[in-house]
Symmetry: C2
Subunit: 456 residues, 2 copies
């Protein structure tokens, strides 16, 4: 016997998890599409060179890469993708003439990282990315945040906050502190503020350059942190920033851009209480150059961001000489589902077919088959129990799997052309309903169950 | 610069391909769910041992396996799955107690085979599998064929034929020819009949055992082939088979089972003209033991089967001592889409958002953002062009991407609170429509375009 376990850090997804997951993915797809985004798919396997080109991935990500070899293939040539951004950059470099710019695409798929396995950390996980490529437009910036809001709201995620910043404001602030040359290092430290706290970040910022730190003085670190910590709140935070930083042209530009984005978000119907500004928000990645965002579920901030992204100046410089600015975000499906599960905000689900049709011992199985076909024809999913075992056991199967109603037709009911309709929740049973009113009866009973009241 | 190509045998899927593909997958998911099937997902990476256990895959498939290694991992331990059946077997052995039987699951995902790249053959392709596990029921057999029919019909596949056989009939026929010991070899040859023709199959059957053949006499080969070739047609073929083979208990059982399945299919509303019997149909795989099916699109038989499967006696014997019979099928999404593309039966698609809202130079962008939000609220997908370039160019973008209508609001229209609505197909433009009737106007215009007539 071979042990049927999966490899370390990998997992099987069971129906109870998969059903809400597929529902959520379909909601995301529909939301992306409703904004004119179109899907693309790239292979799970990429050429190693594409993935490991300078700057394609962080050193950490590259250490976690899964190499792929087939018999007769050359080792080191192929690898599994570790995100959907590098494949997007390669894709757009290759297919630019076919798809044209601006190009608004979404992509949903598995990515692979050989991380040390830990609770809630997997070596294969799903990313849901959408990007607008080939434009420097504020409308596209705002639309990205608007889509995060629309997708999560449509997926019934509990109240959440999309936090925005513009890297230009931070860059300007650092410039005014004479720290321009050290922006990347400072931002990388600052990005850990929520996670490790002010003191640890200050210490990291003061670490000398030869130890990988930014080499700030204690006072410089304090001023950066003061700036970041004062800059959290509603859009009014921008007024204070303008007062203190407005003379720095870079910061002024970032503030003006962010104001514009907030105007567009208001016009787009995103409620102000779902939005926040955080002038310290950096989003570690070096390549963000304008707006950045992240998203936390209110009260569940410890899970981290469930949807993040930002604007970049040049997406595909590794693969094409054409400059392609863009803006995009990624929804972390697995993290979001884990959060909703822990928050008990996921509806348990065992089946998507509400009706179980009994396979009554002694009843010709063509009868349930015929009734099932009629129900499906009017859009009511239903399942026939495959074997004519004891009906009570079939009902147990239905309850376990989440069927709402059972249609039961024994030999007596066949003779009278009637059926019994049992609620698997309340155990109430309507007996002797005519076959001719099957669809209406089942439809009505489902409505009652859904609304908790009699249909009017 | 790094060359942005993909590795040999792999491919990017562009929006024009992805849009019908996603639509089709969603149709399949809904169909599977309407029969009570639930989704599962297993990792793309499996332990090598699971994939290469005796009988898990054919020698050919095992030669094509992609090995996976991460830094610090042990070479030879992990590999990419080559189908969804082996992972299902492992899954059910591992999770039997949680999911219970009968278990009706579907799974959709990429599988990987290092085949020699050729036109239409890819090293990564998508399978759409559904199986009913843990029952020997004829209802489940019939339901599998019924779902193939329902899924393809719902996906608007042109007229197709689901061909059925029962391996017991073939086994009985070979038994009556004294060829029981050589069933596997004979069936493997027979399975090539449609592809390589009668003479080549006869020659292969006569090849001696030490050359990998079945070692039949010329007369035996002729009788097998006569049987197979006479056995193609409607369900009446079973009458002739009964007359000639009815005295063989195995064949008699197979014939009776197949008759029952046809009764259930009729009761389930599958039109008789979509069904056929082919007593020579073997489906190469050794593990099929009962019903087998394959599906061809009428007139496009040269593409081979687009949906195939059958009943097996014991799915997971490599991983559990519990006997798990079942029946299932796999829809070959890539082959089906390639066929539909060549048959010009795929609707070209560039976007799923029918409306483009112009970003008119000089118009405050909050105006199009507001109008777009209103349209999305009533379920009309729309896209705003991200930059205020010349409107003619924006219209060109809309035409290229398949938008149907453009909403145009210049500064004059803003002042009058009106908009112009242009058909990107006919170039007809309705001018000066009031903002207050935006939703109704766009909805009405889309209906006209869809129906080719004025709405009543």
């Amino acid at each position: 016997m071979i042990d049927p376990r999966v490899a370390s850090g990998l997992r099987d997804l069971l129906p109870a998890v998969m059903i809400p997951r597929e529902r959520m993915l379909q909601t995301f797809r529909e939301t992306f599409a409703s904004f004119g985004f179109v899907p693309i798919e790239t292979p799970h396997i990429e050429r190693m060179e594409v993935l490991t080109g300078k700057g394609a991935g962080s050193d950490e990500v590259l250490r976690q890469i899964f190499e792929v070899t087939n018999k007769g293939g050359t080792p080191g040539e192929l690898a599994l993708r570790f995100d959907l951004t590098v494949p997007l950059a390669r894709f757009i470099a290759r297919h630019m003439d076919e798809v044209g710019v601006p190009f608004k695409r979404y992509a949903i798929g598995s990515v692979f990282r050989g991380e040390r396995p830990a609770k809630g950390r997997f070596r294969e996980f799903t990313q849901c990315d959408f990007d607008t490529i080939g434009t420097d437009s504020r409308l596209a910036d705002a639309e990205t945040a608007q889509i995060i809001h629309a997708a999560l709201a449509a997926a019934d995620v509990p109240p959440f906050t999309v936090t925005l910043n513009n890297r230009k404001i931070l860059d300007g602030a650092l410039e005014s502190l004479d720290l321009s040359g050290r922006t990347g290092l400072v931002l990388r430290s600052l990005d850990k503020l929520a996670k490790i706290g002010r003191e640890a970040v200050a210490a990291e910022m003061q670490r000398p350059a030869d130890a990988g730190g930014a080499g700030l003085s204690a006072e410089q670190a304090a001023r950066v942190l003061d700036f970041a910590e004062a800059g959290r709140g509603g859009v009014s935070v921008l007024d204070a920033a303008e007062a203190s930083l407005g003379s720095n042209p870079k910061a002024a530009q970032g503030i003006a851009d962010l104001r514009t984005v907030f105007q567009y978000l208001e016009a787009g119907g995103v409620p102000a209480e779902r939005l926040a500004v955080d002038l310290g928000l950096a989003r570690g990645l070096d390549y963000y150059t304008g707006i950045v965002f992240e998203t936390t579920v209110d009260g569940w901030e410890r899970f981290g961001s469930v949807a993040s992204g930002g604007r970049y100046d040049d997406l595909a410089s590794l693969y094409t000489s054409r400059r392609l600015p863009g803006v995009g975000a990624s929804i972390g499906l697995d993290r979001l589902l884990a959060l909703l599960d822990e928050a008990k905000a996921l509806k348990a689900a065992g089946t998507m077919a509400p009706v179980l049709i009994a396979n009554f011992p002694g009843t010709d199985p063509t009868v349930p088959v015929r009734l099932a076909a009629r129900l499906r024809k009017v859009g009511i999913g239903c399942e026939i129990y495959p074997e004519p075992i004891q009906v009570g056991k079939q009902m147990g199967y239905g309850s376990k799997h989440g069927h709402k109603l059972a249609v039961i037709v024994g030999p007596d009911e066949v003779a009278a052309e009637v059926f019994n309709l049992r609620s698997l929740e309340t155990r109430h049973e309507d007996k002797g309903l005519a076959w001719s009113v099957l669809e209406d009866s089942v439809h009505g009973a489902l409505e009652v169950l859904q609304n908790g009241s009699l249909p009017s």
